[in-house]
């Protein structure tokens, strides 16, 4: 069956949220898994984001087709992939979790069927009990028997159930689904620096807002010069030095240079700034030449603010300000978030523990 996972360069990735209900862009992790699907450290970072004690986010649904694609590429139904797919699908039935978006719907369901067939064909070779159970649960899901699936996944006494069902699934049809192979996506897997894994980008409106603020700055400079030149033209006895070809040329050149910088620079800043909520807390990556990655552990967040300037309000942006008890990092700022995202992050960062002690 054909299915097309959400392309890596699709803007919709940035709108997806993790199981913690904060923006989470898993493409970096997926790329890592494409290279090495058995990298336990990647799985251990990815899984808690996508499935957290029964809660999942829209990103979880988008990841499942990619996991299946990885399984197909390596012709192996990896334990973590099957387990995660089943857990996500089970959690999806809960009304508290977000619904499956239309644009993910087809690929998601198709990929589950593909994974089902792939894993059944490999079942005879799989020894791990949990792995087998996950595969059986997936089969139950495909058979629309969600209570059986839940039983298989969550039941305590593993051996009995698994022995029981192993019999049942002895004869399984083999054969793989067709798929579209996109070498471009695999090639781009190495472009992302390892530290940017799992990071979410800022809101793209940030670029526009930056350009506008830059334009305002250049405009003020230019009109300042203009006023100066006009005053010279009308009131100076000898306006030549100010209105000479060199002065005008230099000004025009300067304005043009600033204008070009204003157009080129903001996207560069945008690309170099991202953030991520980890198990530990907030991680911010920023800086173009001098780059930093700042980690603010959850328990060190004293309080958080979201601020909005006039331009930010115009573009629906907000700045997240995290206060710690530190000296140099007494305030850690993240500019260029969508206002709602900033608010969500604020709630996420302050929600955990309210320690009264100072």
């Amino acid at each position: 069956m054909n299915y097309a996972p959400l392309a890596f360069d699709d803007d919709r990735w940035n709108a997806l949220v993790s199981g913690y209900r904060v923006p989470f862009n898993p493409t970096g992790f997926i790329r890592q898994l494409m290279d090495n699907p058995e990298d336990a450290s990647v799985w251990s970072q990815l899984v808690p984001e996508l499935y957290h004690q029964g809660t999942v986010g829209s990103a979880s649904y988008a990841v499942v087709p990619w996991l299946v694609r990885i399984c197909e590429d390596h012709d192996c139904p990896f334990e973590d992939a099957v387990l995660l797919a089943v857990l996500v699908e089970l959690a999806r039935q809960d009304d508290n979790n977000p619904p499956l978006s239309d644009f993910l719907n087809e690929a998601y369901h198709a990929s589950l069927h593909t994974l089902h067939r792939l894993s059944l064909s490999h079942l005879p070779n799989i020894r791990s009990l949990l792995h087998r159970r996950a595969i059986f649960a997936l089969a139950a899901v495909i058979a629309n028997d969600y209570s059986l699936a839940e039983l298989l996944i969550f039941v305590e006494d593993e051996k009995d159930v698994s022995a029981l069902l192993a019999d049942y699934y002895k004869d399984v049809p083999s054969g793989l689904g067709d798929r579209q192979n996109d070498p471009k996506q695999v090639a781009s897997a190495r472009e992302v620096a390892p530290t940017a894994i799992g990071h979410s980008s800022l809101d793209p409106r940030f670029i526009t807002a930056e350009r506008v603020s830059w334009a305002i700055f250049v405009g003020i400079l230019f009109f300042g010069w203009l006023a100066h030149a006009l005053a010279a033209f009308f009131f100076n006895a000898d306006p030549k030095p100010i209105l000479s070809i060199y002065a005008v040329g230099a000004t025009a050149g300067f304005v043009a240079l600033m204008g070009i910088l204003g157009i080129v620079w903001p996207p560069v800043v945008y690309r170099h700034r991202s953030y991520r909520i980890t198990d530990h807390g907030l991680q911010i990556r920023k800086g173009v030449w001098w780059r930093v990655i700042i980690d603010v552990p959850h328990s060190r967040v004293q309080h958080t603010d979201v601020t909005q300037g006039p331009l930010e309000r115009r573009y629906g942006l907000g700045k997240l300000v995290v206060h710690t008890a530190g000296t140099m990092s007494a305030t850690v700022e993240l500019e260029g978030l969508a206002h709602e995202t900033a608010l969500a992050l604020r709630d996420r960062l302050t929600g955990a523990d309210d320690d009264e002690s100072v």
Binding site: D295, V296, P297, T324, T327, M328, D355
Partner: protein, 519 residues
């Protein structure tokens, strides 16, 4: 008593007043502020307005008088209340939980009257939250214990313990001042003490005599007493019987003079050390560390153990000669400024190197012994530092060579050689180690410093990559804590291999997040 019930502003009887001798001290303070300008005006015979300016002493004194008359404080169940002002009354409420330190300080006059200045410090910043000036020493100690006890009672809400009924403690006043509080649960235990010999050694090592010299020079300038050269020669004439120095005589004289000055400064330094740090003791009282020192002006400072953010073990080349170190502890929010050569941060200004582990264990029981497996930073860092030093060398030698003589180019090879050694040594001097609860970081070529940070005091962990770092596959790791000093990270480890920096960042963030931070 309901702690949420606002206190009636007029209710004065529950409040305590300062000791009556406060008035004298206020007067003395005013006088002192006007003394030096006053003398100058008298000696030099100032302008008319300068004399009139002196009359400002009168309103200043009146202000101090009002301050004393209106100043009240009170130890309520949960907070200390300080009230002052005649026309504009202010009432400051300082919850016990926020009080970081209660320090007291007494100079010679305080001691003559058996009183002291008490400083109430919170985490809020530079100025003490309140200054109780002056209290009888006995009362100050009672206040300190009372606050410590109430703080403890508030923390373990089980309370009750042996706290006397609220009414009684709220009104500590009686005819005698403050009632003796209930016997203390924890007695003071002396952890370390500096003998006079040690202090003399400290004076020798630190060379604080320059402080006295600087003060003298300043004073000389102030009074135009700067001796001119004639005077000096006349004096030398009388002292050595040489009337006119020839060239050789001048050299000998200046060498002798220099040695004499150095010796005098050292001797002054020893005196300074013994005078200001006399009887330096580090005491433990429950969860608090206290330091106490001074012969004339006595200081008694508190350092709550759990508020210690950083511990520094420092040594200079001379102190290493005598196998001594200086131990400092930085607490959150406490004033960490140096004051007349003494520092609030000192655990021990001078201490035997060999006894450090034991003392550290007393101060912070969760500290492990100093690690033996120090990790070094990338040796490639030496090459990077060398590049910077080459530029520096060239920046020095080139102008000299062009301006004076091309012989200066000959200075370049030895300078570069020295630079290379320095770069290697400096990079090698860096080291870090992670133990179960603590990050250790050491650096410094001449003045060596080992910094100890408990993971629960780490606020943020940052990886920084400059363009130069990227070219060499390096990164620097920066760790921030409370009160790490103006414009400084608590620790900056430079020239780390990129993946090692990443590994460290993960490990430290993990350790930090697992532990809750309490200031």
């Amino acid at each position: 008593m309901n702690p949420f019930e606002p206190l009636p502003m007029g209710d004065d009887e529950a409040f305590l007043r300062l000791h009556p001798s406060s008035l004298l001290f206020a007067l003395a303070r005013t006088l002192r502020a006007f003394l030096l300008p006053g003398i100058i005006v008298l000696v030099r015979g100032g302008e008319n307005f300068e004399v009139w300016l002196m009359l400002l002493a009168i309103p200043a004194f009146l202000l101090a008088l009002f301050r004393y008359i209106t100043f009240r404080f009170r130890l309520a169940e949960r907070e200390m209340i300080v009230r002052k002002g005649l026309i504009f009354r202010s009432e400051r409420i300082i919850p016990y939980g926020r009080i970081q330190n209660l320090d007291y300080k007494r100079n010679l006059f305080h001691r003559l009257f058996g009183v002291c200045d008490m400083l109430v410090q919170t985490a809020s910043g530079k100025e003490p939250e309140a200054t109780l000036s002056v209290l009888r020493l006995k009362d100050a100690e009672a206040v300190r214990d009372q606050v410590a006890r109430r703080k403890a009672a508030l923390t373990d809400q089980a309370v009750a313990l042996d706290a006397p009924p609220a009414d009684e403690t709220d009104r500590l006043t009686d005819a005698a001042g403050i009632t003796e509080s209930a016997p203390q649960e924890a007695a003071e235990e002396r952890l370390a003490h500096a003998s006079i010999k040690e202090l003399a050694l400290f004076g020798l090592i630190t060379n604080r005599g320059w402080l006295a010299v600087a003060a003298l020079v300043g004073l000389a300038f102030q009074f135009d007493l700067w001796p001119d050269a004639d005077l000096f020669e006349a004096w030398a004439d009388r002292a050595f019987g040489v009337s006119n120095f020839d060239a050789r005589g001048k050299i000998i004289a200046s060498v002798v003079g220099l040695i004499a000055v150095v010796l005098i400064v050292r001797v002054l330094s020893v005196f300074w050390s013994i005078l200001t740090l006399y009887d330096f003791s580090l005491l433990q009282h429950g969860g608090e560390l206290r330091t106490r020192f001074g012969l004339l002006t006595q200081h008694a400072l508190t350092l709550p153990k759990h508020r210690i953010q950083l511990i520094d073990i420092e040594s200079s080349p001379t102190s290493r000669l005598f196998k001594r170190v200086t131990l400092r502890a930085r607490t959150a929010g406490a004033l960490s400024d140096e004051n007349q050569g003494t520092s609030r941060d000192w655990l021990m200004p001078v201490f035997r190197r060999g006894d450090v582990p034991e003392l550290l264990h007393d101060v912070q029981p969760e500290l492990e012994n100093e690690p033996t497996d120090w990790q070094s930073i990338s040796p490639r860092g030496a090459r990077r530092m060398m590049k910077q030093l080459v530029l520096l060398d060239l920046a020095f030698v080139t102008p000299l060579a062009f301006a004076l003589s091309h012989w200066w180019w000959l200075a370049l090879p030895p300078a570069l050689g020295l630079s290379w050694l320095i770069a290697r040594w400096v990079v090698r001097a860096h080291g870090y180690a992670l133990t179960a609860n603590v990050l250790w970081f050491r650096h410094g070529l001449l003045a060596k410093k080992t910094r100890v940070i408990r993971y629960n005091k780490i606020q943020t962990v940052t990886i920084g990559e400059s363009p130069f770092d990227r070219r060499n596959g390096h990164a620097s790791l920066r760790i921030d804590t409370a009160n790490s000093g103006m414009g400084q990270f608590a620790v900056t480890i430079p020239y780390l291999p990129r993946d090692e920096a990443e590994r460290l960042r993960r490990a430290l963030t993990d350790e930090a997040e697992r532990r809750d931070f309490v200031w």
